[in-house]
Symmetry: none
Subunit: 413 residues, 2 copies
């Protein structure tokens, strides 16, 4: 099975949007063991889009398009499919009803243009899009098939994994099971990590090993393919054990286990309430903790003490400590203690630092983390590379890891 990907949108050609969807789809296909030899990007132009579609259908068993199925005039993927396949456009009265209900539920009248999303090339199946109003389409054409997905990444991702990949696997006749194990690490660079696993990387092909870096965490991904899930699991087990032995405490979580989830479950287990005290990260730590549904049972709140005055005023950091320096371990610890005291929490993580672009007290990228738990206090200083955005993102991840480690009793004095 050979699948081509077509990303639709003039904004992609003009470079106003980076084509992340192509990478997302490419990765999902690779994990599913499905070949993909060509990705094409084309603008919101009926003739060129239908031409690209027709050519791709000549070469591939399946074509996945993203974008161009919204309600506006420049959304032309449906029309281009009709043109490429030589079929008429039909209208789904039941989907139109669904659209009307969607708007009615929100107490608003549906703009007439939205009905466009109930149109479909004759022969297409409409696939419900749980995160948006434009349905995805699946259109069989002889031996091949077109999947038309939305361009909005979150909508695209869900439909890709819930519908497209399973359908492609069924179609390819391959009922092999695919098991993916992700070992999440923090604390070492991608190049050092991959170097330390190089012999394992070279010597195993099933499971296949890959490294994925994302905001300071490196994931080691093992993908095994076998007739059954149990057999795929059995292929993964020895390699996973070897990786875990090699990496030791660098591995903090498995599969979907994020550091914020770990922090929240540690707090629940010990009956602790969490507070935050942020400066340069400006709310990002609290945002990540509260992104988890149900966080409110252990996260009481946080303070963004952006100015020095606020660190004294909101967190009660003693003036004599601030006078000695704001980007210091003493200030960070006092911020964490202040957050516990002022917010009535048991544990707190605090960050103070110089995120750039201009240095504040210390060199740009100097970030100081303080933490307090019922068992003690501690601090860490890191020098982060990169620009302001990167310093803030990496510091947020580091803060969550220091909080996790502190709750596990590490780094506490």
């Amino acid at each position: 099975m050979n699948v081509e990907v077509i990303a639709v949108g003039t904004e992609l050609l003009l470079g106003q949007i980076i084509n992340r969807n192509a990478a997302t789809i490419g990765e999902a296909l690779a994990e599913a063991g499905i070949d993909s030899f060509r990705h094409t990007t084309v603008g919101d132009n009926l003739d060129r889009l239908s031409e690209v579609l027709a050519e791709a259908l000549e070469r591939a068993d399946a074509v996945i398009t993203t974008g161009g199925i919204g309600p506006t005039q420049d959304d032309l993927t449906r029309e281009a499919i009709c043109l490429a396949l030589g079929v008429e456009m039909a209208f789904s009265e039941s989907y139109a009803e669904r659209l009307r209900n969607w708007w009615e539920l929100r107490g608003r009248e549906m703009p007439a243009s939205n009905l466009k999303q109930a149109e479909y090339p004759v022969g297409a199946n409409l696939i419900i899009n749980e995160k948006g109003t434009a349905p995805a389409l699946e259109i069989d054409r002889g031996e091949s098939v077109i999947f038309a997905l939305p361009g909005v990444p979150a909508e695209m991702y869900d439909l890709l994994h819930s519908h497209v990949i399973p359908s492609l696997r069924r179609r390819s006749g391959e009922d092999s099971a695919l098991v993916i194990r992700i070992l999440r690490t923090w604390g070492q660079s991608e190049s050092l990590l991959s170097e330390s696993l190089d012999d394992l990387y070279q010597s195993t092909t099933n499971p296949m090993m890959a490294f994925l870096a994302s905001s300071a965490e490196i994931k080691v991904r093992l993908t095994a393919k076998a007739p059954t899930v149990a057999e795929a699991e059995a292929l993964i087990a020895p390699v996973e054990a070897a990786v875990r032995e090699r990496l030791g405490s660098l591995v903090f979580g498995t599969d979907d286990e994020t550091v914020e989830n770990l922090v929240l479950s540690l707090a629940r287990r010990r009956g602790w309430k969490i507070a935050t005290a942020e400066s340069a990260t400006g709310g990002m730590i609290t945002t990540r903790l509260t992104s988890v549904p149900g966080a409110s049972d252990v996260v009481v709140g946080g303070v963004v003490a952006y100015s020095t005055e606020m660190k004294a005023r909101l967190l009660g950091v003693p003036i004599e400590i601030l006078d000695d320096g704001v980007v210091t371990e003493d200030t960070a610890i006092a911020m964490a203690e202040g957050a516990c005291r002022e917010l009535g929490a048991d544990v707190a993580i605090a960050v103070t630092g110089s995120a750039g672009p201009t240095a504040q007290e210390k060199e740009v990228g100097t970030m100081v983390f303080g933490f307090a738990t019922p068992e003690g206090i501690g601090a860490r200083t890191l020098k982060m590379p990169g620009d302001r955005e990167r310093v803030r993102t990496y510091s947020t991840t580091a803060a969550l890891h220091f909080l996790r480690l502190a709750m596990q009793g590490e780094g506490i004095a």
Copy 2:
């Protein structure tokens, strides 16, 4: 002049790397007024790469490739060009000498494989790559031309701007300019917005109109092409004026003017300090405000009062107001007033709501915004669609807009 872009690399197809180069090149071409209708990604495979090249040359006046010109076995762009054009490979003794010197200067012996970078398809010009060892190539073929650039973004960027774009503009004979105007709107759905502009959309082709939706804001993009920038501006002016008249106060910014930038500059102009009081958005509003370098001169800080107790404790929201309900306009206003008072700010935005997945007091998606300025107070209630993540993101955007409007005197009682 019509240029196609070909990105070469199996890692792109597998989604291990996001294809940023395509966006970089697309943007540079657009700015230069050069059309680009198709981008293709293909793996490190000789036959498929030469096929893609040959096809692109049939359609386009020029083809830009990135990647596949390094020293390793899977770098095949030179070979594919030979195959597509039916020419032999030549060897540049002078470039080989340059490579040897490059390594010698660094006190290292050159790996023999590096000599591959001195090979070139007969008829190609070698273009010095100041940031790396692989030269770029420029190969004329009748009326058309191929530029082969490295895949390393920094090397690619330099060669693109120093050599490729100037060469393409010379070749195109016409130095048409492209002007892009983006009108940023908030407060209306993409479908209603496009409906209200439909006649303008239909009746103008230069400038071309497009709609881009991103986290609750809709951008209207006008792209005009003309011999000079001034003429392109003149083409845009009447359409821009018509769109602005039609959309009125929905348009809040132009081009790169984000809502957070507007909020910060409004505060600077009036000498006001800003504070935030967040509940369901959990720090996202403060994160966006502090993402702008230099925000610290007007943003004093914020409070994430995630639990009801914190709303009283940190923000001094009166118990009798909280007893009447936490997700209410009274609570939101009291939170904003409390943020001003407790943090010593002049203006504040507050959010309280039910972000889901389980309802808190009100139906999931009910979000209440309160704001306070030296000129008065106000509140708004919105019902947001979608899941927790979307409710939080859209609410953050809405909060920044309500803050902007309040600072402009709108919605204030």
